[in-house]
């Protein structure tokens, strides 16, 4: 009960600030927290990255192994994305099978990578119709201070950029870098009162659970959109959000180019 009261006070604080055109951490409405990307942090993984957005931290590890292709795509490798919101990342996460939030997180990240065709899956065929590379993208949240979505998406593509296909280990030729040809970037906007802010922190998320994630590719095409939360979205606001998302994605993509 005590926690609830503190949550209420924080919510009022967040909303009061927003009404005054400010955010509690002093950022502009379209400003991200500091983003840090570190790759190659897990030697045992084929690729890995730790992404920090403010105090939010996500690790993504890529593991690969040969496996059977899907019957309808015998000439393509397979991407499998999974997210675990482990209890160490937040007092509200509980152990157990993935709930709808982690399923949604994984599927939205997956869509950005898949639909931008960031990984050239046709180069991941070992023997057509028989054997292809399976790429497992595992998202591991370490600290949830808001906007796990964008941190996870950034960590996923950073880890893929850092991935070496372990062909030698499976005795099928020489290792080669994973062919990555696009840089999808997810931008999550948080709708709060009559405005929207990008990159919500945890206090902002607690004040309203209304989000929309727009993922764009290197040519500013929209490759994935997900409205998340029980709210009604105004059409004009949607277009503004898309405009902002494209702009912010361009900025964040620059960080990826340095990876």
């Amino acid at each position: 009960m005590g926690d609830d009261i503190i949550l209420d006070i924080r919510r009022d604080y967040v909303l009061g600030k927003i009404r005054d055109g400010e955010r509690i951490d002093g950022r502009a409405f379209d400003e991200y927290r500091k983003i840090e990307i570190e790759t190659g942090i897990i030697e045992k993984a084929e690729g890995s990255a730790l992404v920090k957005i403010g105090d939010t931290q996500v690790v993504v590890g890529i593991k690969m192994q040969p496996g059977e292709p899907f019957p309808d795509t015998p000439d393509k490798g397979i991407i499998i994305t999974n997210a675990e919101l482990v209890p160490l990342a937040s007092p509200t996460f509980e152990p157990g099978p993935p709930d709808e939030n982690s399923v949604e997180l994984a599927r939205v990240v997956d869509r950005g990578i898949r639909e931008s065709e960031a990984v050239d899956l046709s180069k991941l065929v070992i023997e057509e119709g028989e054997k292809v590379w399976l790429v497992f993208i595992d998202i591991h949240a370490l600290d949830d201070d808001g906007n796990l979505m964008d941190a996870s998406a950034l960590a996923a593509i950073s880890a893929l950029l850092n991935t070496t296909v372990p062909a030698e280990r499976f005795e099928i030729g020489d290792d080669f870098p994973l062919p990555v040809r696009d840089l999808p970037v997810a931008v999550t906007s948080h709708i709060i009162g009559n405005v929207f802010v990008v990159d919500p922190n945890k206090d902002e998320e607690n004040a309203s659970k209304n989000f929309i994630t727009v993922t764009t590719d290197s040519d500013d095409n929209i490759v994935a959109v997900q409205k998340s939360g029980s709210y009604l979205l105004d059409e004009e606001k949607l277009y503004q959000i898309i405009e902002t998302s494209i702009k912010k994605a361009r900025e964040n993509r620059k960080l990826l180019k340095e990876v």
Partner: protein, 248 residues
């Protein structure tokens, strides 16, 4: 989205099933098809066949899920094992979990939950046959079933998808268009006083430009209004028949 170069989905300005770009598939709606449910609806949208039951407002089990200030809305999207070409393993998969989440959120935004503290409104959706756009068919049916159950709502939800195939935007894609197409964009709109007010559900995957996306929203709005009229007719027709019977 694969093999996009091999199959032509638009020939001579028409789609594979002869539809124009902005044409819906045939829709059939029946209200009150289940005896035990508080509200129900059977809906066909092309080859999609879905049935929805609404139970509630009623007591919530397990009890700890109760909300002291408002009703809890639950939505279960479930595909029958025989609903698709290759048998679907029974039970929830990740796709169903996600569809259930975003669909529930769309309905939560319009159901007047505050009127029923501590109670639950359950929407159970069974897909008997799926042919692309099943989540939109289900939401259309769910919205009607909620009205049939007498659940107070701020308005209606009407839902339809737009796809991009062979470089063209098309309304209400069928299986082939969804599978081979370049993008799929399911929408649901909140409609009040015969007017689209806002967006209740929005997902998208594929690849479109910003301008195409805006065009898709317009196209979907237009389609949703047509669906809305059919939903309204279906609801009215149920009560028209009943009142005539009473007169006899």
């Amino acid at each position: 989205m694969s093999n996009k170069d091999e199959v032509r989905l638009i020939v001579d300005g028409k789609r594979l099933d002869g539809r124009a770009f902005d044409e819906l598939r045939p829709i059939k709606i029946k209200v009150g098809v289940l005896k035990r449910a508080d509200g129900s609806c059977y809906l066909e949208m092309g080859k999609n066949k879905v049935v929805v039951a609404v139970y509630g407002p009623r007591e919530v089990h397990p009890r700890h899920l109760q909300d002291p200030v408002k009703a809890v809305v639950r939505y279960r999207y479930n595909m029958a094992p025989f609903s698709v070409e290759e048998r679907k393993r029974p039970g929830p998969d990740r796709r169903s979990v996600e569809i259930s989440k975003v669909s529930r959120e769309a309905l939560e935004a319009i159901v007047m939950k505050e009127l029923f503290p501590r109670s639950g409104i359950d929407v159970f959706v069974e897909v008997l046959q799926a042919d692309a756009g099943s989540r939109t068919a289900c939401l259309n049916a769910a919205s009607v079933a909620l009205v049939d159950a007498g659940v107070p709502m701020k308005g209606m939800i009407s839902s339809v998808a737009v796809a991009k195939v062979d470089g063209e935007l098309v309304l209400d894609p069928m299986k082939e268009e969804d599978f081979y197409g370049e993008a799929d964009m399911p929408f649901a709109f909140f409609i009040r006083n015969d007017r689209i007010e806002s967006i209740a559900l929005l997902q998208m995957d594929g690849r479109v430009t910003k301008d195409e996306f805006i065009k898709a929203v317009k196209m979907a709005k237009d389609g949703a209004m047509r669906i809305y009229k059919m939903q309204k007719e279906a609801i009215k027709s149920k009560y028209v028949v009943e009142s005539e019977e009473e007169v006899d």
